[in-house]
Each structure stands twice: as structure tokens, then as C-alpha cells.
Symmetry: C3
Subunit: 242 residues, 3 copies
């Protein structure tokens, strides 16, 4: 149990609030109050022309109208960049930040800036696409759903939708993030190859940017929210507690 | 089950087909058709003067006379260099390549080129030895059999035989490997210190050379084929499935 | 069982022999003879003015008056620097050295020399403090006790005491350590972020300095001696056996 028992779960690219259902159900069964916004531009019917600022504004609106005074906020993947802005704008309400296989940007960086070179070249090809950026199934299957069988990967892919391109290219202003004194956790599913392990991988590259952090690790790939909801629920509890 | 249910297992240096018996038995019990060649120059009675090309030719001969039209090929350790050549020469028959704690060479490299400096110095001392290259037991015990007790390490060592020196020094021509569109998996036993972890380790150094790959990891050292056959069998199934 | 069945356990900074109680009890139940010195300057009543040489002398005195002719020596964290000196001074008595999330220094380095830059800046602020160096609870909770709940972290913190500052700043002379032929093991709890993973982390940075070593890994943070004594006992047995 966190001191607040309130948890905000921020999804990543190609996803919406639906991705958290297995984990949110389990956390609610254990007594947590769970908040799962869908960020502007995301989900099957999102407007793919939104900017990163629009995404942040949508999260802040959600938090201001739904969340209690104090809560723990967890972000997955691209959602890390939103959690960083939330910490700058509503930091007094955050008991702890949990980054789960998530991006952590430096002031003025975009997601595109920190992608592995091979990803970057692909992203450049589609950056003007008004329909958003879509993950091809073969990439999703091996790099995002490596820890499940084909049928489960196909079912998870049915939740995938195009993501607003600008949310990966807009530079994010983060002038105060590194100085914030909000405790941080890094929740790491160690078989994640959505970012290729090594120089351009999640860990320790992104985790190091947190300064002092609490480490909680577990087996599984990028989508443990779908492939291992029991283990992820337990890891979220360990990463979120005081 | 793979789409083909046929699996080719390629052994590493100091070994022969016998090393796969525990895993091959388990896979056959689960309905797989398993192919386990002994590569030229390997095993107790191998001719230690063979070249890397001879080893490749011996694998191609085996595949052409034993394997079905389509199969998944898995290679361990040095066997990775053979799998790379097999992919160039018989790629249309490979449903997927699985590299299990295996070398992945760039065009024109030899195994010797990518060894850690301390290994390289040792290899240089024995490179003219017509009797092959043998692993001393203390090295085998700590670096290859770190995850078992002494008795089990000694039993595993009884399967170790000298390996043809040229197979580690010959440069391997791999002009097309990186462009091949055959899916790749990296099956990683994470306590493997046969290559010292870090700058000269297996992962992510060798895995990165695969480009997009599926990650499957498990506990255990370099010889999980002997020390953890149940877990390796499960990992092979996860790494091989469509 | 080791060939000798005698095990010396060397504690790290901020600790004393008491930290080993859960593990020592379990090892004794399994038939091991376990030796657990408190190093000079450590524990609630230690004289914080001791030098690193004083710490080494205190360990040598203990070994000469308590330990049998042959034993396995295991060191945790800062204790690694004492084990290195013990190996130089009493190497003929060591059957094996086990470094458990431990420092491994090069000849002439101090602990301070190998700390991450952010740690180093903090250490510099307190290096003249005659009362020793103390871990603040928030740092202990997230970086040392990340794998337990708050109550357990608080209980573990009750064993923490200030550590002699000089033991982290004194340069350690290690002229022969790298050439010693005593077998080495690296026992690694992989969620340890007491040293931030990456360029300045425990593994593979410290482990690489051992040359050939046996790897034994387990889940958990820096204080698995408190948080996971069953698993650590098993890992110690695997790391110590012949």
C-alpha cells in the first residue's frame, strides 16, 4: 500500500488506457485507487495531429479533474516524457514517480533524439505522415511481444493504434526536472528489446538520468502489462510503496 | 510448436552432437523433429586440421541430406558462425535463426578477432598446435560450468574435446548476412562468463549485431544444455516459435 | 560443501558482524564453520579515526587467531578491499575468494577514486568528519533496501552505523593481487543500485577486474544479507564450492 493508495498509470505510444486493464483490475482488487487516462491523440480514434504539448495538457486536465491531492504516478515507455512534465507542473502532488521501461529526456530533447540510429532512420521516413506512426506487426511481435506466443501477440496487437508523429519529434522543455526532490523508481522488465540493449537501450541509459532511484526488476518484455500482469502488479506495488 | 516443428541444433567448439542429448530428448518428447549434426573436426575423433570452410561444408552436407525444406536453426557459441554461413547459403529454408550465447561475426572477421584480449593472447600461443585447442579444466569449471557442482562439471568436461584451431583463426566471409530478412532470436543464459561480461561479452555486443531480434533469457551459464536442460528446452521453444 | 567447510564473511561499510547473522545461522545449520569478524572502526562503538591499514590489520589479527589453515573468504561491498589485502598477505590460506557486490581496487586506488561522480562530490563534503560517514535514511531506503518494504528497511537501518571516513579515502597498495592464482567468484545481486548501474556500477566494472571468475547471480539489492538470506545462503554455497 502506498501512503496515499492512489496510483496514476500513464500509457506509452501506440496505446491507450485500455492497455492497463489487466493490471488496473488487479491493483483495485488489492485496494488501490487507480487512474488510467487516455492521452490526447491516442487510442483508435485519436487526432494524430496533436503536439507533445497537447498530450501534456490532456494529462494535466485529467489529473486536475480526477486525481486526489497526493498520488504515485507511473509511466510506461513514451509516457515517461509526460510524467517528467507532470512532475514539473504538479510536483507537489506526486508522492513518487515510477518509470517503467520508460523514456527519461534531458531538457530540450525529443524522443527522436534518443532513439537508436536504425529507429531514427525509419522515423525520418514517416515524420510527415498525418495518419500517425504505426508499428508493423513483425516488429511488434519480436521487439515488443517477445515473451508471449503468437496468438497472444496478435491479441495484444489488436490494442495497438497509430501514434501522433509530433509526440516523438517535438522537443520537450524540462528546465527543472533533474532538480526535483520527488523520489524515483525504475521498474525494469529486463527482456525488453523495444530499444535495443546496449548503447541505446533502456537500462542503464534511461535509468541513470533519474539520479538516485529505487530499482525493481522482473522478467519479461516491453508489454508485461499484457504478458505478465500478475508479476507487473507485484512490481508496481514494490516500486510505489514508501 | 514452430510452423515447421523441425529444429536444427548446431553445437559450439570443444563439443559435438552429444552435447545436445538432454535437450534433444526433451524436444522430441514434445513433438519436435530435432537434427543434431557433429561438425567436421569435432568430437573425440575429429581431424583437427579442418578449416572453417570445411566445417561449413560439413554442416551444409548434413542439412542437404537430413533436414526438411523448412526448419528453425539454433546455434550455440562458435556454432553461430556456422549458422551465419548457413543463412547465406540456404536462407530460403530457414524459418528463423536462434543464436544462443553465440558468436555473430561481421563480414571478414574470425572468432579470434572478437575474443577478449586475455583470451586472444592465450589463443596466439597455441595457434599452430595440430592437436587442436583444449580448454583446461579450471577454466571450464569456473567460466563454462559455473552453475553446477564439481561432480557435474567433471561429468560435463568428459564431453569436451580439443577443437580445430583454424576454425577460430580463419576469417569468415559474410557478405550478405546482415541484409537477410530471416527472423532472428537471441537466447541468452545470463550467467555466462565464457566471454567476460562487458566490453567483450556476449550480450549486448553479439546480440546487437543481429539488428531486430527476439530476446529470450534464462538463468545459467554457457553450458545450460548440460546444466539446465528443462529450462533450456522451454527457452528454445519460446525462441523458435513463429 | 567447500573442501574446507570453513567460510570467512567480511562485512562492508556502515555495518559490522551482526549484518551476517541470518546467513551465518543458515550456513551453520548446513554444516559450515562460519567466521564473522567486526572490522576495526566499525559497529556502533567503533573508533571512526581508524585508517584502511588499521582495518586490514584488524582482519589479519582475526584470521590469525580464529580461522583454520584453509578457508573460503567472502567479502561484501567495501569489504572487497580488505579481501584483496588478505589475499596478498595470507593467500596461501585462501581456497577461494568470493566478491559479493564488492569493490575490487587496482593497485593504489581508494574507494573514493572509483565512486560515481555524484557520490564523490558528497563524500568530499564530509571527508574531515571525525564522527564518520553516515548514510541518510532516504538514500539507504531506495539505493540499499530497494527490495523490501518500509518496515523491513527501517529494521535494517537500525544496524547501520557511521563508517570511518579514512577507510574510503586511503589509497590501498595492491602490488600483487592481480597475479595471485587464487580462484575467484563474483556473487552478484542484480538489483543493487548502491553504485548506479552503468559506467560506475558494480557489474561488470568491478567483476572484470577479477580476470577469470565464476559468476553466481541472484535477484535482490545491496543488502540481500538482510532481505533474502535463504537465497543468499544458497548463492554463497554455489560461489564457494570447489
Amino acid at each position: 500500500m502506498t501512503a496515499t493508495n492512489a496510483l496514476l498509470l500513464i500509457h506509452g505510444s501506440f496505446c491507450d488506457a485500455e492497455i492497463w486493464r489487466p493490471v488496473a483490475d488487479r491493483l483495485r482488487d488489492k485496494g488501490y485507487e487507480v487512474f488510467v487516462p487516455t492521452i490526447a491523440g491516442h487510442g483508435p480514434d485519436g487526432d494524430r495531429r496533436v503536439s507533445h504539448d497537447d498530450c501534456v495538457a490532456s494529462l494535466i486536465d485529467y489529473v486536475d479533474s480526477h486525481c486526489p491531492d497526493r498520488f504515485v504516478a507511473l509511466a510506461h515507455s513514451w509516457g515517461g516524457t509526460l510524467l517528467q512534465k507532470l512532475a514539473e507542473l504538479r510536483g507537489d502532488r506526486l508522492e513518487r514517480m515510477v518509470f517503467h521501461n520508460a523514456f527519461v529526456l534531458r531538457d530540450g530533447e525529443s524522443i527522436h533524439d534518443v532513439l537508436p540510429p536504425a529507429h531514427r532512420a525509419l522515423w525520418d521516413l514517416i515524420k510527415e505522415d498525418p495518419n500517425g506512426l504505426m508499428l508493423p506487426f513483425p516488429v511488434f511481435r519480436d521487439a515488443f511481444a517477445n515473451d508471449v506466443d503468437l496468438e497472444t501477440a496478435q491479441a495484444a496487437y489488436s490494442h495497438v493504434s497509430p501514434t501522433p508523429v509530433r509526440s516523438h519529434f517535438d522537443k520537450v522543455s524540462l528546465p527543472t526536472f533533474e532538480q526535483l526532490e520527488i523520489p524515483r523508481s525504475w521498474l525494469y522488465a529486463w527482456d525488453d528489446v523495444a530499444l535495443t540493449p546496449g548503447e541505446f537501450g533502456w537500462h542503464p541509459r534511461m535509468s541513470q538520468r533519474l539520479g538516485l532511484y529505487r530499482m525493481v526488476s522482473m522478467p519479461g518484455g516491453h508489454m508485461v502489462c499484457q504478458s505478465a500482469p500478475d508479476a507487473l502488479t507485484e512490481a508496481i506495488i514494490q516500486a510505489s510503496r514508501p
